[in-house]
């Protein structure tokens, strides 16, 4: 076991080093792209934590990603120099000006009924704080209600799915404050003590790369704690854990909230590297796509899910360069996904683990490829 553990950490270290060295070989354009994929990798971590370790298949992870993205985007929108009231110290988002009723005061407090909500976002750090607080708050409220009521399996998935679609519609409908379908575009740069994070410079890449590395290692350490172990016990058998005296809903809610915080963090980073926030973050397709990444990489492996996300997106980007092949690639993704669910339920990480086991090959401990897939819906039958 200790040997396997060492190898495990060595792989983490290798991954981090690789990510850190990329700027040596890549131009600014590709670095910006890869930064986006690293953000997707972070989403993979969030999915693996809640799905693989907590047994909660969240089909609405986009809600937390979107919440984080919008919170920071609001601040960055107010920091934009090109699209606001030029020469004024009282910035107002351009779309509010365009849609303002004739004669409305052109101030953030009162240009429309709800615009005052934007006021605190004049501070960038308020946006950053809210980008974490809002997802955590939403997840805690949702988790407390759902898990205290012992709702589990597919019902949690459906609730999260319906919720993300609901919020998406509300965001679209609240045109005066959110710019509806169009989302928030033309944002300013994230700014730390004078350093402006232009998405196409190396420091921005490092902001993302370091963030991802910290999240990876932090999450990995978190599941190595006693709580992380108890969480896996809860995943395997809620009742057994309950009768051993553990406060089951507290564990589920806590890790659900951590997963939400990671997704929210990813949302903020995404806004920094791609300079927009849009209701498409809360599309059904995006939330399920994240699950696809995690499944291909390995739902029960933090790093596996992360690499799965990065790998699929990098290949997509490379392949899509070829004219006309983008659509065919989508079909291939569909096919890969079916095959992974059927034949490789533990994903690429599962393959890697088996490979390492074989290398270590003390004795072939009970053919690991037959490990039953965590079936979170088994409670259905009760």
């Amino acid at each position: 076991m200790p040997m396997k553990r060492k190898i495990d950490w060595a792989i983490y270290a290798a991954f981090v080093v690789l990510v850190m060295l990329l700027p040596l070989v890549m131009d600014a354009f590709w670095l910006n792209r890869v930064a986006k994929y690293l953000v997707y990798g972070m989403l993979g971590v969030a999915v693996a934590l809640s799905w693989g370790y907590a047994g909660i298949l969240n089909l609405g992870q986009g809600l937390f990603f979107g919440a984080g993205a919008y919170m920071l985007a609001m601040s960055l929108k107010l920091a934009s120099t090109t699209s606001l009231q030029q020469g004024s110290d009282k910035p107002v988002p351009d779309f509010m000006l365009w849609n303002a009723e004739p004669g409305a005061p052109t101030e953030l407090c009162c240009i429309n009924k709800a615009s005052f909500l934007w006021l605190p976002f004049q501070s960038q750090w308020f946006g950053v704080a809210m980008g974490l607080i809002l997802p955590v708050l939403l997840a805690t409220i949702l988790g407390t209600i759902v898990f205290r009521k012992r709702i589990s399996g597919v019902f949690v998935s459906i609730i999260t799915l319906a919720l993300v679609l609901l919020v998406r519609l509300v965001v679209i409908d609240s045109q005066p404050v959110t710019n509806g379908f169009n989302g928030l575009t033309d944002l300013g740069w994230f700014n730390v003590a004078g350093l402006e994070f232009d998405p196409y410079i190396v420091p921005t890449y490092y902001l993302v790369a370091v963030s991802l590395s910290l999240v990876l290692v932090g999450t990995r350490l978190l599941i190595d704690t006693r709580s992380g172990l108890i969480l896996q016990a809860v995943r395997d058998d809620q009742n057994r854990a309950r009768y051993l005296g553990f406060d089951v809903p507290a564990y589920q809610t806590f890790f659900f909230a951590v997963s939400a915080a990671i997704a929210g963090f990813a949302g903020m980073l995404y806004v920094i590297v791609s300079e927009f926030a849009s209701p498409t973050f809360m599309d059904l397709t995006f939330s399920i796509t994240m699950v696809v990444w995690a499944a291909v990489g390995g739902r029960a492996s933090i790093l596996g899910a992360c690499i799965g996300a990065i790998l699929i997106n990098t290949i997509s980007a490379t392949v899509s360069e070829t004219e006309g092949f983008a659509e065919a690639w989508k079909a291939i993704i569909g096919l890969i996904f079916v095959l992974v669910v059927l034949y490789l339920p533990r994903g690429l990480a599962g393959l890697a683990h088996d490979f390492i086991d074989r290398l270590l090959a003390r004795k072939p401990t009970a053919s690991p490829q037959a490990l039953p897939v965590s079936e979170t819906s088994s409670q259905l039958a009760e």
Partner: protein, 249 residues
């Protein structure tokens, strides 16, 4: 006379008119091993559900020593000192045997209290002892899903022993076991005698004879008789109600 560990006073539950447990009163002494006997539908498992909080009673009280634990939440009852083994063995399937026991060795219920690494040398030593006791030392790094049925049952017993509750409720611990496995189970249970108060639901009379001190017979949700093995086997009321319908093999 020892102090009573568990006192049940007029406990009843009403499932839409059907009283599965109807006014059961019994006292289990500290360190005692009590067997619950009864035909199918006599209310044995329901009684365990009521004690452990799975089912909420509609009348009567349950005391653990002097604490009234009636209708508490399951995990609070567990923390108060009542451990339970289920009829269908339930362990943490995707964790190794050792990891299973380490989970049970965490003494604090909350998520924040457990945000720390390692389990401490005392806990690890205790886990080693339990592994020895349930005979799974060799299997400690195996994933629990690959254990045989008997081994799974022992692992669940191991979880309870590690949890170290004052009272252990065992619901048919030998169900589906071979004779040899049953015998080993009785050894484990006998080993726990004195250290824990144990209540066992069991059908297998061979097993009951190996472990039992006192027996309570339930019939149609009520206590029919109480006594040692000999008294129960010769009790005419029991013979009529229980042997008549099913027979003690």
């Amino acid at each position: 006379m020892a102090q009573s560990a568990l006192t049940i006073d007029g406990l009843s539950v009403d499932f839409e008119g059907f009283k599965a447990v109807n006014g059961v009163t019994m006292t289990v002494d500290d360190g005692e091993l009590r067997v619950l006997l009864g035909a199918n539908g006599a209310g044995k498992t329901t009684l365990m559900d009521l004690i452990s909080g799975k089912t909420k009673s509609t009348d009567g009280r349950v005391y653990l020593h002097d604490t009234d634990i009636t209708n508490w939440e399951e995990h609070k009852i567990a923390r108060a000192g009542i451990g339970r083994k289920f009829q269908i063995p339930s362990v943490f399937k995707e964790l190794t045997v050792r990891r299973n026991l380490e989970v049970a060795s965490c003494k604090k219920p909350g998520v924040f209290a457990n945000l720390r690494f390692g389990f401490g040398t005392d806990a690890e030593r205790n886990v080693d002892e339990v592994l020895e006791l349930i005979g799974l030392t060799e299997e400690q790094d195996r994933i629990a899903a690959y254990l045989s049925h008997g081994q799974t049952q022992w692992l669940e017993l191991g979880l309870l022993i590690t949890q170290n509750p004052k009272i252990i409720l065992l619901d048919e611990p030998t169900a589906g076991m071979t004779q040899a496995e049953t015998h080993k189970t009785s050894e484990i249970v006998n080993n726990l005698k004195g250290r824990h108060t144990i209540i066992v639901v069991e059908h297998d009379m061979a097993f009951v004879r190996e472990i039992a001190e006192r027996i309570t017979v339930l019939h149609l949700g009520q206590v029919l008789a109480e006594g040692n093995v000999e008294q129960i086997e010769n009790n005419p009321k029991v013979r009529e109600a229980y042997l008549g319908s099913k027979g003690i093999s």
